[in-house]
């Protein structure tokens, strides 16, 4: 057949689809219109499904991290260090054991550290290293949904990891209040509050020159140490206390203490903690969406 004949022929075949004829079976995909409508509605969840499938590949690591970290920290700090700390007067810790005092802080910090991993390297992987975002980008999914899907998947990880953490805390008898389990949600919120602005930043990076290691060393570590984690924030000199005020770990930890052992603080302060965490997460989400759309459309 000549090229000309081929040219004249195929207009009729417009409706024929690729795969069905390939196998000659009755398998039929739904129409593109249905695909688009479903993707518009559920796209973020479709992408979350993909991320969770990949996470399953290192699921064992996630569980071991979830169990191992609290056991080690609670034992070392809450049992070991506590004998020293409590002998010097437990008054500063609001009348509860040192273990009970630090448990919510460790729970929140673990989520924030997970955020520091999940919202940095995988974003770089998506845009640059293995370019995993660009596969779904060619499908009906939008850049915003790809970002959203990754966030949903990481949120699932936060919930799972924090639930395991909380279970260990409870086994140590370090969450006496009836509402202690709410700290699972608080930890998840704190993880997002720290992680989403970081994700927006990660999406702007064109070349990895060790920025993420810097974030870990110069942001995450100081926040972990100076957020009222191991001692109340007001025992610190004013000059460094601001680190706690801008720290999602501090706001999350204070909330965690309220729900786990009825720590008493001004009600307005509780409202501030919630608003701070929500506000930071929302701002991070808006910036992330914008940056994903911008970078993927170029």
């Amino acid at each position: 057949m000549t090229k000309k004949e081929q040219l004249a022929k195929p207009i009729q075949a417009a409706g024929t689809t690729a795969g069905a004829a390939a196998a000659g079976t009755a398998l039929r995909a739904h129409s593109p219109e249905v695909s688009a409508a479903r993707a518009r509605r559920w796209g973020a969840f479709y992408y979350a499904e993909q991320v969770l499938r990949v996470m399953k590949g290192y699921g064992w690591t996630i569980v071991m991290y979830g169990v191992g970290q609290p056991v080690a920290y609670l034992f070392a700090m809450g049992v070991g260090l506590a004998t020293l700390v409590e002998s010097n007067g437990a008054g500063v810790f609001g009348g509860v054991s040192y273990l009970t005092f630090i448990a919510p802080a460790l729970l929140i910090s673990a989520a924030v550290m997970t955020a520091a991993n999940e919202f940095t390297f995988p974003v770089m992987d998506g845009f640059k290293w293995r370019r995993v975002y660009y596969g779904p980008h060619a499908s009906p999914l939008t850049p915003e949904q790809i970002a959203g899907g990754q966030i949903i998947a990481v949120t699932v990880r936060f919930l799972l990891q924090s639930a395991i953490y909380f279970a260990v805390v409870a086994l140590f008898g370090a969450s006496p209040g009836a509402w202690g389990w709410v700290s699972i949600l608080i930890a998840t919120l704190a993880g997002l509050s720290f992680g989403l602005p970081l994700m927006a930043y990660a999406a702007t990076i064109q070349h990895d020159k060790g920025q993420f290691a810097m974030v870990m060393r110069f942001i995450v570590m100081p926040l972990f140490l100076f957020s009222g984690t191991f001692f109340p924030l007001d025992t610190l000199p004013l000059a460094v206390r601001w680190i706690g005020w801008i720290s999602p770990i501090w706001h999350g930890t204070e909330l965690g203490r309220v729900v786990s052992y009825g720590y008493e603080e001004e009600p307005w302060l509780t409202v501030v903690h919630v608003l701070f965490l929500l506000g930071l997460a929302a701002a991070g989400w808006i910036l992330t969406k914008r940056q994903f759309a911008k970078r993927m459309a170029s």
């Binding site: 022929k9 690729a18 079976t25 993909q50 499908s139």
Partner: protein
Amino acid sequence: MRVSELASKESRASSPSDAALPYVITAENLTKRYGDVTAVDGISFRVPAGEAFGLLGPNGAGKSTTMKMIGGVSQRTSGSLNIMGLDPEQHGPEVRAHLGVVPQQDNLDEELKVRDNLLVYGRYFGLPMSYLKPKADELLEFAQLTDKANSKVDALSGGMKRRLTIARSLINEPRILLLDEPTTGLDPQARHILWDRLFRLKEQGVTLILTTHYMDEAEQLCDRLIVVDKGRIMAEGSPASLIREYSTREVLELRFGSERNASVGAELGGIGERVETLPDRVLIYAHDGEAALEQVTARGLRPVTSLVRRSSLEDVFLRLTGRSLVD
């Protein structure tokens, strides 16, 4: 305007029933600028359903940028674009739901198994697992990857990854398949297997849009193509008609050694229709290559090697731009 003049050479495009034809892609004055750089400079073309349409040009000609705009993932600077009756900028998800896309760089999920790559991708179209599982097996068969179904992607060869990417692009049974340099970097055998698969899709009526800088690929696969250089369309037509229009039937390739090609080239005037002197060889465009060779030897010139071949798209490109396609 040159583009419309060229388009009018196509008998189909000039017929009065133009509007009634089912064009799946219509681009008019499509332009994309990145800062000061104009990657695509006002190109216009139309693709009817079922056609294998090629964009042929060297690296940096604007082929991939054009593909990204068609694929609804890159915004145009100006001009209009219509895919299946929709503007990809306003209806991105709807347009992309119609397409299968094989990007220039494979972006498979290396952490997932071969078959899971297909399943996951199908989910992006909201396709149910009851459809996806048998469909994935079908496509693995089609891509000759059935025995690799449970391997990790990074265990595949380059050709296998390419075939998996094509299988993945077919998961939603697209009517239009975009292939950006589908065989670049593959060995000859892997390319032939891939071409065979693409032929089958064409036979099924899938519209193929492909970019390539391989002239043999364009000749093998494309019903019609545009030759693109520096973001502009240089010519448009079927491979055969382009060769007819811009080249002779045969080409005589002579090598006199890199020192002498230029000087000997000057002595070959009058033989054939045209003489093209390149650094490594001299090309004589003639209807009858053997006859031209006899004339050369009659002038007492002794080439180190001589070869008579049919004209190809490479010659068309050389004629149109004064440069060769693959540097």
